[in-house]
Amino acid sequence: MSHILLYFDPGTGALIVQFLVAIGASIALFYKRISMKLKSIFGKKQEEDLLGDIDIEEKSDADKE
């Protein structure tokens, strides 16, 4: 259905590879979690976060979901 709207080539390989990329992502996220833990244990000072987090903080009226 949505194929008509696809006006550029997403690259078949780039779709298939996402399966493997997700595995790499899991490894990276795992290490990130550990390093964050270690940082908080050793009380390393966090820099000011100017670029924000990936997750959207939904306003209270959006709780209905």
């Binding site: 078949t12 390989g13 779709l15 298939i16 590879v17 996402q18 997700a22 490894i27 100017l50 990936i54």
Partner: protein, 462 residues
């Protein structure tokens, strides 16, 4: 439909197009996109995106069977990826990932992720392509994944390893940097990062392996659970957010080594404020504005300030300041006034030249402080040519002229070595004479204890 004044950049996506009517930008939605459009509107997702500051807000002005017309919020100045500093580029990339994750959580997916869909408005990146959203079908991989890598990830990685200039690479590769090329260019050690190995090397390999597999229906089906796709987005987000660039440029700490003592500095600031208010300006372009120190003197008096500088680190420092202070009326931009960004793409109008965008944005006044000696002595641009350039851009000009005794000018002249006397024409008298061809001198003021003179000029009616 054909009679509408279609925007020169809007032809790639059949879902609709952008057109202008009496200076106002509109977006036309074609019937082919009605199903998606009605869902996005009906489910309240558009509204959520506006609230979250992810998508440029719009209102529907007309709806017929042949098309829906949307009026998006006006974007005062449209900046392009190759004009952003490192943190601006990063922020735009992160914005796209954030948007895609939010889409997935709400049953949609971005069908494209070009860097030209992001621009800066009110001190933040904003996504502008209202018709880039499609339904998400469970298990479907992200179709815009490769485009995201080519438009955002590749230039950022190249910049990390080879410097700021790499962020201009989209001027050459308007459709993004080919991944095979990026894989070849990156240092060998990058292979050992799980994020880079998978997103760049493996993706480049798979992309070329399946490059002939185009026929619809015959393509290999692959099932990627939503959680896996979110993991990809999360890990790219973390990785990009932590990216740092290690390149020093000559202008860092510029103001600590300038020709000013504190009194002269304050004098100059007061003068600028007085003149700015005198001509009732509220839209400023600051050429060679460095980190925005002098633009900020006019911050509370201005609706909009565009600060350009050739030094990407100064621009980046400026952007960090914008974020820290949550400033909504300052836009820093990397630009070289003697080699401004040209128009590129179809007919050279798909992405407009910098000078055209400046002219169309109707700034009240331009500021060129401590710039003319660089244009004239480093760029070798004669006074009459720089005067003509400035006169083509804004009706007023606040310009500072450092005379030959100024230490910076002296340094630049000395660097001309045996050609030094070719630049004898660089002096206050000649400057005023040549600029008076294009401008009337409204004010002229020497800054005490310096060899610098400030001018407020008004463009002559031609």
């Amino acid at each position: 439909m054909q009679t509408k004044n279609r925007h020169s950049s809007s032809f790639r996506d059949p879902s609709g197009y952008v057109f202008t009517n009496q200076g106002q930008v509109f977006r036309q939605v074609n019937p082919i996109y009605f199903e998606q459009y009605n869902s996005l509107k009906g489910s309240g997702f558009y509204e959520k995106l506006f609230k979250a500051g992810l998508l440029i807000p719009h209102e529907e002005t007309e709806s017929t069977q042949t098309g829906v017309t949307l009026k998006p919020e006006n974007i005062s100045f449209f900046s392009y990826p190759y004009e952003w500093s490192f943190n601006q580029y990063k922020h735009a990339a992160l914005h796209t990932l954030k948007l895609q994750k939010y889409c997935l959580q709400n049953g949609y997916s971005l069908k494209d992720a070009t860097a030209f869909n992001i621009t800066y408005q009110k001190g933040k990146p904003i996504f502008v392509d209202t018709l880039s959203f499609d339904f998400y079908n469970e298990g479907e991989p992200w179709r815009a994944y490769k485009q995201f890598l080519m438009h955002f990830f590749a230039p950022l990685l190249l910049a990390k390893y080879y410097g700021n200039d790499m962020l201009k690479i989209m001027l050459q590769y308007i459709d993004g940097v080919p991944l095979g090329k990026v894989a070849k260019m990156l240092p060998f050690k990058c292979r050992f990062s799980p994020v880079l190995y998978t997103n760049i090397y493996l993706t480049a390999k798979y992309d070329s392996k399946y490059s002939s597999d185009k026929e619809s229906g015959k393509e290999k089906k692959v099932n990627i659970p939503k959680e896996s796709q979110i993991k990809i987005l999360d890990s790219l987000y973390n990785y990009i957010k932590d990216l740092e660039l290690n390149e020093k440029t000559e202008w860092k700490d510029y103001y600590s080594v300038t020709n000013y003592d504190a009194d002269s500095f304050a004098y100059k600031k007061d003068l600028i404020r007085k003149w700015y208010q005198g001509i009732n300006a509220d839209k400023l372009i600051d050429f060679g504005g460095n980190d925005g120190t002098f633009s900020r003197v006019l911050k509370d008096l201005s609706n909009e300030i565009l600060v350009t500088d050739i030094d990407p680190n100064a621009v980046d420092q400026n952007y960090v300041e914008v974020l820290k202070q949550k400033e909504t009326n300052i836009l820093p931009l990397v630009s070289d006034l003697v080699n401004p960004v040209p128009g590129i793409g179809l007919n050279n109008t798909e992405r407009d030249s910098l000078l055209d965008r400046i002219k169309n944005a109707n700034y009240d006044v331009a500021m060129a402080l401590a710039l003319i000696h660089h244009i004239s002595l480093t760029g070798n641009v004669p006074f009459d040519m720089s005067a003509k350039l400035f006169a083509s851009l804004t009706p007023y000009l606040i310009i500072e002229f450092p005379d030959r005794e100024d230490s910076w000018v002296d340094f630049l002249l000395k660097s001309k070595r045996e050609f030094k006397n070719h630049f004898d024409g660089y002096n206050l008298t000649n400057f005023e004479k040549e600029y008076s061809v294009y401008f009337d001198v409204l004010e002229k003021q020497k800054i005490p204890n310096t060899h610098r003179t400030m001018f407020l000029l008004k463009r002559k009616q031609v």
